[in-house]
């Protein structure tokens, strides 16, 4: 009896809990739409949250529920949106590939340095010290926060300046969030001309600091036949939606701050290779 009773009681407790759980799982069953798991399977699974959802699982649910667009996954691109469209019986709309672009041309050779930095290799830490070691407080710090944030190895630091390798960029926007200076923008890959500067300083200060900064002179805005360029806070900005890639602006820019990108790659460097 001394042995049997504990066995019976613990066994009985286990049995009661077992049946209770079995009953509960039937009673409280949550039906999962099988399309959700199908959609989840075709997604890249990087959980990068570029779609605006918390991850691939959440995106799959949102797409099936109709809360997110079929082409909402920027990493998967056209291929994935087509597959999702097939599962849901919807047609994917035109998908425009967006890539990250560093809005700064201030490499070590172009931009003067303010002091020599020997702290930890981190853009945020360096930027906290008088706005970073480069004399321009708006420009790239070059300590590679974006490089470390990029899950796809698409960013390299060259001559103290971050550079996006457009062929590897999937448009996940992780680098945009990682950059303490907020100088990485998402642009359509078809957009060819870009002002590679983020400085709101006046022209005189920009001239002192950097060889290739935008001085806000406005010549590009005047010459643009499509009114795609606006000067705001001493900085020219090209609207990719209006720009027809005619290249007039790059011709007149006195500091050569407007550069030509073909397929997301800086044409000047492409030609040199």
């Amino acid at each position: 009896m001394q042995i049997l009773l504990p066995v019976l009681i613990i066994g009985g407790l286990g049995l009661i809990f077992g049946f209770g759980l079995a009953y509960a799982s039937k009673k409280f069953e949550v039906k999962v739409d099988e399309r959700v798991s199908q959609v989840r399977e075709v997604l890249p699974g990087a959980n990068c949250a570029a779609c605006g959802q918390t991850g691939c699982d959440a995106f799959a649910e949102a797409v099936v529920a109709g809360e997110a667009e079929v082409n909402g996954c920027p990493v998967g691109g056209a291929e994935v949106s087509e597959k999702i469209g097939k599962i849901l019986g919807k047609s994917a709309k035109n998908f425009e590939v967006r890539v990250a672009r560093v809005m700064c041309g201030g490499s070590s050779s172009n931009c003067r340095s303010k002091y020599s930095y020997s702290g930890i290799e981190d853009c945020t830490a360096a930027a906290a010290l008088f706005g970073g070691p480069s004399s321009c407080t708006y420009g790239c710090v070059g300590m590679g926060n974006c490089v470390r944030a990029c899950p796809f190895g698409a960013i390299v630091i060259e001559d103290g300046l971050a550079k996006v390798i457009a062929t590897k960029c999937t448009g996940c926007t992780k680098c945009v969030a990682a950059c303490p200076k907020k100088i990485i923008d998402m642009v359509p890959i078809s957009s060819e001309y870009t002002v590679r500067c983020s400085s709101f300083d006046s022209g005189k200060i920009v001239r002192q600091n950097c060889e290739v900064g935008c001085i806000g002179c406005g010549r590009c805005a005047k010459v643009c036949p499509h009114n795609a360029i606006k000067i705001e806070n001493m900085l020219a900005k090209i609207d990719p939606a209006l720009c027809q890639n005619c290249g007039e602006c790059a011709k007149v820019c006195p500091t050569k701050a407007i550069e030509l990108f073909l397929c997301g790659v800086l044409e000047r460097e492409n030609a040199a290779v």
Binding site: P6, I9, L13, F17, L21
Partner: protein, 192 residues
Amino acid sequence: MRELLSLMLGAILVENFVLAKFLGICPFLGVSKKLDTALGMSGAVVFVMTVASAFTWVVNKFVLVRYELEYLQTIAFILVIAALVQFIETVLKKLAPSLYKSLGIYLPLITTNCAVLGVALLNVQREYNFGEAILYSFGAGLGFTLALVLFAGVRERIENCDIPESLKGMPITLIAASLVSLAFFGFQGLFQ
């Protein structure tokens, strides 16, 4: 009333489960890297600790004590806690999906957390009545929260420090944990 309050505050500060009793060290080191995950885990722990101690108290009083099987407390409590957490998970999934999502993976994780089992066993050892047991467990959960949140803050600071190569990662975390624990030692003897 005064006694109950000192019981709860004692569970939070003097007998802090993580920093004074060294229970639940695994989640303390595991999920304290970021403040929001630490908060998620803590919420789940407070919830499970309170509910589990209520159930284990009942099981102990009306099953184990009655048949003189107190020596089976450990195994019986593990069984009760595991089943309970499973049950809560299925029910939450159906009835409160938003709460289920915010507790997320932390809920099944603490099924096997020794702090939860520890509070259930302590309740019995100290012969608390039902109300005291619930209050003590709730306090213990809050203490766990306090430890985790404080330590998450410490770790976020460590991230930005220049640490000697050989101490990077877990070693410096353990050193920091011992310092935080020493600080909590100062609460010893606050309530008598």
